[in-house]
């Protein structure tokens, strides 16, 4: 697991009650820089979400590493996005495929946020990251 992720998720891991967990998630969301308004376009929206989630997943061609950016109009989803970013940003395609977001969210007690019914866009983001990494390796 990457050090960045361990560091950012520490306070969530240490939260003793769920209320504290959500407080930490929202605080984490606050540290995530907002996307420029010019980037908050409908084309970047994850479709079918109750909340608005904009996401950009690209590979930096020279460095061959993943660059993920995103934003949300809700505080909880924005915090969860920050976790995903910490998990995947800067990884090579090989490294991306070795990271299992489901396991990490499970360990943090947040797995329900990756369930298909949540419709919060986080699951879609993980899937897009995984698919892009796989395509890179073909």
């Amino acid at each position: 697991m990457t050090n960045t992720f361990n560091k950012v998720s520490e306070s969530i891991r240490n939260a003793s009650v769920w209320q504290q967990k959500y407080r930490e998630i929202m605080l984490l969301g606050k540290t995530l820089p907002s996307l420029l308004t010019a980037l908050k376009i409908d084309d970047a929206l994850v479709p079918g979400c109750e909340s608005k989630v904009w996401m950009y997943v690209e590979f930096d061609l020279t460095e061959n590493v993943l660059v993920v950016a995103g934003d949300s109009d809700t505080r909880i989803v924005k915090g969860l996005l920050a976790l995903i970013l910490a998990l995947y940003n800067g990884l090579t395609p090989e490294q991306v495929l070795q990271v299992n977001a489901y396991n990490e969210f499970e360990k943090l007690g947040l797995i329900s946020h990756l369930s298909p019914s949540r419709g919060n866009g986080i699951k879609a983001m993980v899937e897009k990251i995984q698919t892009m990494a796989k395509q890179k390796l073909i």
């Binding site: 769920w18 959500y22 109009d73 505080r75 989803v77």
Partner: protein, 422 residues
Amino acid sequence: MATILANNDNVDITMPELKFDITRVRHDFPTLNQSINACPLVYLDSGATTQKPQCVIDTTAKFYTDENANVHRGRHTLSENATIQYENVRAQTATYFGVNSNEIVWTKGATEAINLVANGLRKQVTANDTIIITPIEHHANLVPWQVLAQQTGAKLAAMPLNKDGTFDTELCLKFIKKQKPAIVAISHASNALGNITDLPAIIECAKSLGAIVVVDGAQSAMHLKPNLKILDCDFYVFSAHKMIGPTGVGGLYGRYELLNALTPYQTGGEMIQTVTLYESVYRDAPAKFESGTPNIAGITAFGAALSYLSQFRHAEIFEHEQAVFNYAHSRLAKIDGIYLYSSIKNNIGTLCFNYKDEHPFDLATLLDGYGVAVRAGHHCTQPLMAHLGINGSVRASFAFYNNYSDVDKFIDALQACIAILD
């Protein structure tokens, strides 16, 4: 911003004594008696779907265990019994709404019923016609009319709506007289706000000008139990799952001559009189709209739901719902920073609200942590949200199985959520 009722100390909080045997009723709904996230479930999402009493669950199981057969087909005992049962529930539904059995068509829900009417009217609508819709409609009662307008060249016209999401009946009547519509499609109660529409005046005015009035009754069918002959609309749609019945069942009421004049939009078996290779003669309504094998188990179970409701006088249910809703509304209005969009008068029991500029999604997620089930979002009413100047809201919707204690738990949880957010 619409109605702002922050910290409104003028509102009296009253809790009239409930005559209704709510303890027994809650016992009949097994889903209610569980914990979510280690808290007792407070189910406030009946606007999306109601919970089901044990008798509905048992009837479904019994059908598949002992009674399963297709209807209107086999000449054997099970099939005959299933057919009798199926038609009995149609009669029961007709009685519930005060109409005739042959005026009830089974569908899979309100959405399909509206589509059936909108498609069925296509041959009768021309480019010179106007269809009145309203800004409060659920997308299910908007999109089919948009499609009909596109296909026929008819014009859509949106009924005027006050800033706060209520109708001014006088303005509506003026608008109808000016537009001279061929069709008026309107909800009996708003799913997002719970506000009840003043239908009698609107229906009388529209019909005096020759319009066909289609009422979306998805939200009113259980809470208001309208007598449709007295209401005098031409069509009315409902979903069983919002009336303590199963999902996948609903229906359309149509005044018989108008119903029978609709063109079927689905064709196939069971709906025909005679078929040759090149043409077919349809049966009369309702059969001609019920091609294919229907949801027999669901319809049978819906019969159990109607029987369950019929043990109460409707006024008893309504009074109880109103008492709990009024208590909830006045408690919510007292919380600082709450924006409340639902009117307290003429409401089926729905609270549509936001807290400061917090996202409804965050609030609903946190409420779920306390076992409180509410809906967050635009509630399939984007035009209404736009009208109110918001992106979405939290919606807490009540039913007769809710009690004062649900309200207390909801308000306590909400205050705890606010403490997390602030």
